[in-house]
Amino acid sequence: MQKDYKGPVEYSLEIAIEKIVGLLKEDYGISKRAIALLLLQDEEEIKALVREKETEALSKIEAIIEEISAHYIHPLTYELALERQAQVRQIISKAVTVKQEKVSIREKISRLSMNPITGLPLVLFVLYWGLYKFVGEFGAGTVVDFLEGTIFAQYINPFITNLFVRLLPWEILQDLFVGEYGVMTLGFRYAVALILPIVTFFFIFFSIIEDIGYLPRLAMLLDRTFKKIGLSGRAVIPMVLGFGCATMAVMVTRTLATKRERIIATILLALAVPCSAQLGVILALLEGNLPGMLIWAGVVGLVFLFIGYLTAKILPGERPSFYMEVPPLRWPKIGNVLTKTYVRVKWYFKEILPLFLLASVFIWLGKLTHLFDLVINLLRKPVEAIGLPHQASKIFLFGFFRRDYGAAGLYDLNKQGILTGLQLVVACVALTLFLPCIAQFLMTTRERGWKVGLGISAFILFFSFGVAYILNLLLSNLGVVL
């Protein structure tokens, strides 16, 4: 191709590239011209590489870049982008003719999905059918019941228990593996029979809306609201994932652009986003109690916005900016959905299974050393302060090991008939806000560091009980009967 030496000859980009190419002596696996272009665009990794390899010519190369930069108004990245765009336009003008098209039906649906008047009801529709019906009722309900109740309870657990009892004659070790909270009977069973199906169904749902191209539209609708809590529309992805599994969502906060956004998202995920397992049990608990459910959802929603707003005010740093491509709406392809679901479930399972097994070991240790009795006693006072019977302290401790485990404990308490409607709602709020499960805690410390992880946990510990305390005070003084 003919080269176009634009600008004053001695400062033209093309000349600078030729000079740099001439100075590069080492082999980079890609063309030297590409390296030169990347250098001009201030590409950090390439700069580091060249700094390492070209000890002799380095100062000369840097001088050329400095000189050429001084002769352009804009950063060279921008000048090159303009140059590239001009080339593209030229090629396209020769090769492509664009016909004026009318707005297609596909495009009309796309616009409707982005218009807040039609788009927001659509969000609720998608969440109701996708999350609540498909993931919650079918995945976490029907499928889990079958896997846990039938496959594990009737076949696998008795077999494994039998095996371990015969292999390990010591009761303490039997407890570790096949006891009530054993590595095999609790940790493994939970991971395989409960989390695996829920997460699989969640990922199917997520992959479908992703393949349709719905996520950028959701992000676009929510960006303005998310800005108020220090996040950008991009954060909808970890937030929606949080309703599946908050542990995984914390991992996905990596995709957010700034450290500030990642910290805010992590706090909100730990505090006010219930995961599908927990959500399932809580919804079952409050079923048929519409005012109770509205109070629960209202309080948790308010806490989400309030804490987001507050952390955004307190944390220093740049405001997030939001930009995303909006792809055309497409029919989901089954092949795509299955591949994405498979890859994600595999990856997730590999990350999460060890954490579950570890949690079982912790429970075993806690019981063995009577540390649990101590913690349950410590929790007794605050539990009574928020108007709950002392038996409820146990559910908070277990809630830390598995979010839904706490909720399930609450379910049992409720069945025994010792909770009033009001206590139930307060307990649901407290449990939702309370410390996330141990897996999420470990993930938070891994992603954000020990200091931030512990800080967030300490804050949540006091805050969740504080909110429950105020709610209990308010409702009982107003004489609300639920």
Partner: protein, 212 residues
């Protein structure tokens, strides 16, 4: 009173050094016997004392206006006349002398009261900028002010913030691209070519478009 071109150049230079860079005085140096210098002194824009000169209040006003005209001329060349940037400063120097009082405000309005020249230096505000709130139709405006479903072309990106620039480059919202704003609430959605993008107000305020 119409100044000579040379006197305007001197005033502009002084406007940059004495007002923007806040130097107290300027060394008269080689300009000592310049005709234009005498012209400025006669108009009492300049005071010379022991080889140093400083601007009077009137002179400052005039110098500010010279700087404004020069930078507006540059913007005009780049945004409307589409001149290559390398020659902008030099041509701007010639062009500015044609923009006399009042004319500069018209150009400023035409351009949508730009705040910086293409090199990123501030353009001093004129009367028209202060009235801009009730100003009528503009030809050039930030993307977020564009009417929905109306074709426009991207004129320039008003930012020197690298990270913002990088994002706009990634989207491909570069000068000369045709753009249609599809939606402005809750976020901005626009179309460039066959692709659609959504951005927040912050990013949309850095992209200036020219209505065709």
């Amino acid at each position: 009173m119409i100044l000579s071109d040379r006197a305007e150049e001197i005033l502009e230079r002084l406007g940059v050094e004495l007002i923007e860079q806040k130097k107290e005085v300027h060394d008269a140096g080689i300009l000592k016997d310049d005709e234009a210098l005498k012209e400025l002194v006669n108009l009492s824009y300049l005071k010379i004392k022991a080889g140093q000169f400083s601007l009077t209040d009137e002179g400052k006003e005039e110098a500010r206006s010279c700087v404004r005209r020069h930078r507006l001329a540059e913007r005009l060349l780049v945004d409307i006349l589409d001149a290559k940037k390398g020659i902008v400063h030099e041509r701007g120097c010639k062009f500015e002398h044609l923009l006399h009082k009042g004319l500069d405000d018209n150009i400023c309005t035409l351009l949508g009261h730009p705040k910086t020249c293409p090199h990123g230096r501030p353009i001093p505000e004129g009367e028209c900028c202060k009235d801009a709130k009730r100003a009528p139709k503009k030809l050039i405006m930030p993307l977020f002010e564009l009417e929905l479903n109306k074709k426009a072309k991207i004129a320039y990106l008003q930012t020197h913030n690298r990270s913002i620039l990088q994002k706009i480059i990634a989207i491909g919202a570069l000068p000369h691209s045709e753009v249609v704003l599809l939606q402005n609430f809750p976020s901005y959605v626009f179309q460039i070519g066959k692709a659609q993008f959504t951005v927040d107000q912050e990013l949309a305020s850095h992209i200036y478009v020219r209505v065709s």
